[in-house]
């Protein structure tokens, strides 16, 4: 994830005081000459350094945790942090396998002495119904889809979106039932029928509908969802949350990403770039092996 641990450790452990002083003197970006005769560190640069280490630490911790505990903690945090983070709940509930989600629910019991559904009570907004339903799902995972039912349910969703009050979508009982109980195969078939029947795709029709769109994407076209999250994270003006999403997605999805040959080069470049710059800036001498 970026920090060149090996080089750093060898530098720090092999350096004597003289060497370290020359490192500091050579790293004008990180250390400034203080009038009292010592090389003082520059606040803002060190801030960046700490941030990088924090992200490294977060990534390490996230990687080490058992996936069930990891997902339980991600959900708990998202509930606490509020509406902007509800997509994480959707992400966990909809992109994990049925047994993985179940495991997360069990871990949640152990860690927090409540079920996820109970803690979702803290959410006062209209998203609660959908979130509770998604998190309680134990979807069938086999093949075999009733195409007729998938088609008629795509119709139900179409009507809910286009003929009903869009504001009431989150309260639409049938829509929520379909999204929360049907198998992923079934929903993917429904997605296809929707595009065929209505010439636009379901996710696009839910543009602007926040977690409803996230739900449909996570269930039917997870790559689209993850691409979206990753791209937001590598933008120039990405905020801290988006960057954290980068760590989360890469750590939790790395098998999937690798399998689909998915990691866009953009990300690799940006990561290396950031840390490359940092290393060059902090170590003036050219003898890093």
């Amino acid at each position: 994830i970026g920090v060149d641990e090996k080089s750093l450790i060898s530098i720090l452990t092999n350096s004597n005081e003289e060497h370290k002083r020359s490192l500091r003197k050579g790293s004008s970006k990180l250390f400034i000459e203080d009038e009292n005769g010592f090389e003082r560190w520059d606040q803002s640069s060190i801030k960046i350094l700490k941030h990088q280490f924090n992200r490294f630490r977060d990534a390490v911790v996230l990687s080490l945790l058992h996936p069930w505990e990891r997902d339980a903690r991600l959900i708990e945090k998202a509930i606490r942090k509020g509406p902007k983070h509800y997509n994480v709940i959707v992400e966990v509930a909809c992109t994990r396998s049925s047994d993985q989600l179940l495991g997360a629910r069990k871990a949640y019991h152990s860690l927090f002495h409540h079920s996820i559904e109970e803690h979702l009570t803290h959410i006062k907004g209209r998203e609660r119904k959908l979130l509770v339903a998604l998190v309680s799902a134990y979807r069938y995972e086999g093949t075999g889809v009733n195409e007729d039912v998938a088609k008629s349910e795509s119709q139900i969703l179409y009507e809910a979106i286009n003929n009903g009050d869009k504001n009431k979508l989150l309260d639409h009982e049938d829509a929520i039932m379909i999204l929360a109980t049907r198998s992923k195969q079934h929903l993917q078939a429904l997605y296809r029928h929707y595009s065929q029947s209505y010439d636009k795709n379901l996710a696009q029709d839910l543009e602007g509908e926040g977690i409803l769109k996230d739900t449909v994407e996570c269930l039917c076209t997870p790559q689209t969802y993850f691409t979206r999250v990753l791209e937001a994270a590598v933008k120039e003006d990405a905020d801290e949350e988006s960057k954290r999403a980068l760590t989360r997605v890469i750590v939790t999805q790395k098998e999937q990403l690798v399998k689909e040959g998915f990691v866009p080069n953009k990300i690799q470049d940006i990561l290396l770039g950031l840390y490359k710059d940092f290393m060059l800036a902090s170590i003036a001498s050219g003898d890093i092996k």
């Binding site: 079920s115 559904e117 509770v132 134990y138 979807r139 009982e173």
Partner: protein, 316 residues
């Protein structure tokens, strides 16, 4: 506690399988032998017998039982022989079908089983019916029943004993307010009833009683003929005092009240290995006669013998 009696020295599954095979052979069927074996083996033992029987004779034991037995006795033996999770999956699936539909049975399974038992039921359902229990319930129930049953069936309740008294108090108030306004299907009511742990729910209902003078089920009797309210009262009973719930089901079945045709079979076969001891006690308290006596009066033949064996009458 279970009433099922298993002998101290249990024959091996192959011996049992062989005996069962003998029971089917020739003219007629040796029903007594079937009762002697199947009514005296626990779930793990029955599963082994089924497996061994299938390997030895190339046929599913259940199919043979179906061929050889009839009527109430057949249904009782088939139901009991099934592994508990498979049994519940079978009952639940039946309950979603048009002509055998029953919201009650769905509720009973969702509320009286432990979180882990319910999970096993859902797994067995996937395996057997290639759908999820939740989607079948969602698809086959409507209106207020669906609003209540889908969350109940999807629940994975925390099973610890911890209770938050402040929460219990505030949720008792919420329930009281909604019930007073007759908003029985209000989201808050459904939420509390379908997500709280059983211990927490118990505390809430105790608070309700203390704070408002009536037990919640008394207040839910406002309209005695309302079917939905009946179900809601049963939900609460099932979650907090299941033996009382089952006592009532048995009482009504034995007195031929109501229309729950297979109730006696269902309750005995599904609770014999769970809490039949407490159900029997509740029955005796409420009806002044032991359950064995009531069943003996109400049933006959092999069916009667099988049920009595399951509730612990006679020896192992």
């Amino acid at each position: 506690m279970a009433t099922l009696k298993v002998p101290v020295h249990v024959p091996s599954p192959s011996e049992d399988a062989e005996q069962l095979r003998k029971a089917f052979e020739g003219w007629g069927t040796n029903e007594q032998l079937i009762i002697d074996i199947l009514a005296h083996r626990n779930a793990a033992q029955r599963n082994s017998i089924r497996k061994v029987y299938g390997e030895a004779y190339g046929e599913d034991l259940l199919k043979c039982l179906e061929k050889e037995l009839t009527s109430d006795f057949e249904r009782a033996v088939l139901l009991f022989t099934l592994d508990p999770a498979e049994r519940d999956a079978h009952l639940a699936n039946e309950a979603t079908k048009k002509f055998t539909s029953s919201n009650w049975i769905l509720m009973e399974i969702a509320c009286s089983r432990s979180s882990h038992e319910l999970l096993n039921v859902k797994r067995a359902y996937h395996a057997r019916y290639k759908k999820s229990l939740e989607e079948d319930v969602a698809h086959h129930t409507t209106g207020e029943y669906r609003k209540l049953l889908v969350p109940l069936v999807s629940a994975f309740r925390y099973e610890g004993e911890e209770v938050n008294m402040t929460l219990a108090k505030s949720e008792a108030k919420i329930l009281h307010d909604k019930i007073s306004d007759k908003h029985y299907t209000d989201e808050e009511v459904i939420r509390i009833v379908s997500t709280r742990s059983k211990a927490q729910l118990n505390a809430t209902l105790n608070h309700y009683n203390t704070s408002f003078g009536n037990a919640i089920n008394k207040d839910l009797k406002a309209d005695p003929s309302d079917e939905f309210l009946k179900l809601l009262r049963a939900v609460i009973k099932c979650l907090t005092t299941p033996e009382q719930y089952f006592e009532k089901v048995l009482r009504q079945a034995i007195n031929k009240l109501g229309s729950d045709e297979w109730a006696l079979t269902r309750v005995v076969t599904t609770r014999a290995e769970v809490d039949m001891v407490r159900i029997k006690e509740a029955y005796q308290r409420r009806n002044s006669i032991p359950l064995e006596q009531a069943i003996a009066k109400d049933t006959s033949g092999d069916y009667e013998k099988f049920l009595l064996a399951l509730i612990g009458a006679g020896d192992a």
